[in-house]
Point group: none
Chain length 238, copies 2
């Protein structure tokens, strides 16, 4: 077992500032502490602080204005993060529930996996789990997820229940989504899916296959989605 190496200072700064913005300590439109103030707080120098702030700009957390400061921006949803929404106003977090059907487990890749895999991915194997998402206790989205099992110690013991896959990857493993692709079909629900999503067999559902690439080489996230869009819809940004 390896002792966990300390996070570089600028990454600690990124984490801290993201957390403070996410928590609402620094609100949209407000100014962050100036670069020199952050230097003093962290006992470092401007290039290091600026390295962190540049990252926050690129992830949409802040904008910088010369002479003024770093302004907290509209909280941008993560690249490729899919959400389920509806027209009914007020779908708060309380009405969302995520159930783990099959807990994260190590698994080898299928021989005829839909996407092409690199040798490193094949060697590393995958972590597989399935989830079912509810809105107002209505099952809406069934999701199968495969994650390349690279640099993810103890991942199978993590709790992924409330929409926290991307948060977990970011917080504990410094994994960030960089880009992705998706393929989309409309299909009629088969017996298994229709039962799970509480639909009549043959009802139109959205099926997606997605590949999300991360900042870690060969660490990709694959997911197959099946979504009931009678009451709600799938939504994403790019």
């Amino acid at each position: 077992m390896r002792t966990s190496q300390p996070l570089p200072l600028y990454k600690k700064l990124i984490d801290d500032l993201k957390t403070l913005i996410d928590q609402g300590t620094y609100k949209k439109g407000e100014l962050l502490p100036s670069e020199n103030e952050l230097c003093k707080s962290y006992g470092t120098t401007r290039p290091t602080v600026r390295q962190a702030l540049t990252e926050l700009i690129n992830t949409g957390y802040i904008v910088r204005q010369q002479g003024k400061g770093s302004i907290v921006a509209e909280p941008k949803k993560g690249l490729g993060i899919l959400s389920v929404s509806g027209f009914t106003a007020g779908i708060g977090d309380k009405n969302l529930k995520t159930e783990i059907l099959e807990k994260p487990q190590k698994r080898t890749w299928d021989n005829n996996f839909f996407y092409e895999l690199t040798d490193e991915e094949l060697k590393a194997g995958s972590i597989y789990f399935t989830r079912l998402r509810y809105i107002n206790n209505l099952p809406v989205l069934f999701e199968e997820t495969f994650i390349t099992n690279i640099q993810l110690p103890r991942f199978t013991t993590r709790n992924l229940e409330d929409n926290s896959l991307f948060n977990t990857l970011s917080k504990y493993y410094q994994v960030e989504i960089k880009e992705g692709e998706q393929k989309i079909w409309a299909i009629g629900a088969d017996k298994k899916i229709s039962k799970m999503l509480n639909l009549k067999q043959g009802s139109p559902i959205v099926h997606m296959k997605r590949k999300l690439k991360t900042n870690i080489r060969n660490l990709n996230i694959y997911s197959w989605l099946y979504c009931n869009t009678e009451e709600y819809y799938l939504h994403d940004n790019f």
Copy 2:
């Protein structure tokens, strides 16, 4: 008239390297000159060179690998460009056809337009047209498009037949897609759509509503899509 101020050195570096990559002088998978070599070429130091390279990473031109170098990346497809694909190998351009059903025409916005519009957009009005796309003479995708009528002189006379909306906007109007969002449903084809897509009424089809933002303020592209995914599927990158 103001004399143009000299470009900062790191921006000149960005421009130069982008040009060399676009021109193919540095090809995909190849290494750029090392940071120290660039320092010598430009008579500067590593922090400045790294500032430029970091920007190239964020725009997808390169990836950096510690100990190895800066690797020219896959030329990234345009943001938000949707394509229709199939498993059948060899869907060449020859098998693709786009038919303009309703030619581009100026039009005021609907009172209850699906997306919220700015005052400037409302004032400018829209350009509206519909297209039907075929693969191997099979109608696959029906698309309604609304573009904010800002800085688009003579647009209604342009030919948009072969997948060239984004090319036209880029080439003649310097309009580039910056980001976007989409909402996705699976629905049963109604009478009109089923007829157009040569389907049985009620067959599952993909319906999407998309908003694409551009580098021009208030110039957005909205489109409603209806896609037959029995033989092919929708594909996009982000």
